[in-house]
Point group: D2
Chain length 97, copies 4
């Protein structure tokens, strides 16, 4: 069931967890801001910043996926069509096209 | 300092908190997925979904802001220039232009 | 049928036309690049750049719309609900939420 | 200098040219709309639609690039690092992260 597992570089794993922890903090900050009637524009700024942070996490995962899983699949001629289709579909979901 | 406060409709406040709670759950889910080596494509799908959910929250806040704060500022001719500039700047930050 | 007409500041009109001319040139450039088998990554860079240029045009139109049409509608209490709903819908189309 | 050339499937080439022609028409339509003071919201709708059309073109080029150039580079172990870095950079430019 190898293909069910993902691969994230050891270095990136810590980096991703730190980024995700920070994003979780931003989301909790947003709940507080809504609760305390913070100024709408400040809420919107925090949302834009969380979106960018999440997209950055996405590109790190994408890069690891391409450099490891997609590459491995091509080198071993294993499920390559599926891997490439999945990759394009994931990019399209990000771009919402 | 009235203008430091935002305005979110009572109805929207609950709706926003529910959405933000769900997004917080998605972010914690992402931490688990990274930890458990979930398949990269599944991680990417969850990230796209969290981004869309956050942007939806942003448009609800934006709508309340326009319908209340911006409208109020125009009706009362109070800080209108500033309010309109802030609004455009917030939209530009969302679009990253 | 006043509301069928838009309002773009005289200054912005020239600025927009110049930008749109440049974008039209970029699109024709893309046709040439596809025709001449330019390197895919160069094509993608040109597409990203055209998208950003179009979004910038969008924010200029949006700003004029808010500063003139929306403001006028609120000051005169004319079709305000509709104007505000249209505005939010336009922003949501941009963000694809 | 093989790597300077891109690869777009014969089928996709026509599809892309048709799409780009249509987008060029949309951009010229936008110039007319600005000229004739079309309603701002209609201009914004046309811009959103052109942006989506351009992004769709981008994903077709990206898919061909991955399925041909990136795949070829991995199979032949030729410039693979560079190809993968270029790919991630192109995706990041699209997402503006």
């Amino acid at each position: 069931m190898g293909q069910q597992h993902g691969y994230i570089k050891a270095d990136d794993k810590d980096k991703l967890q730190n980024r995700l922890k920070r994003i979780e903090g931003q989301i909790r900050g947003l709940q507080r801001m809504v609760d305390e009637q913070a100024y709408c524009i400040d809420i919107l700024t925090q949302i834009s910043s969380s979106v960018s942070a999440l997209e950055k996490v996405g590109t790190i995962v994408l890069q690891d996926h391409v450099e490891h899983c997609v590459r491995h699949s091509i080198e071993n001629r294993e499920d390559t069509e599926q891997k490439l289709q999945e990759l394009t579909a994931a990019i399209e979901r990000f771009l919402k096209v």
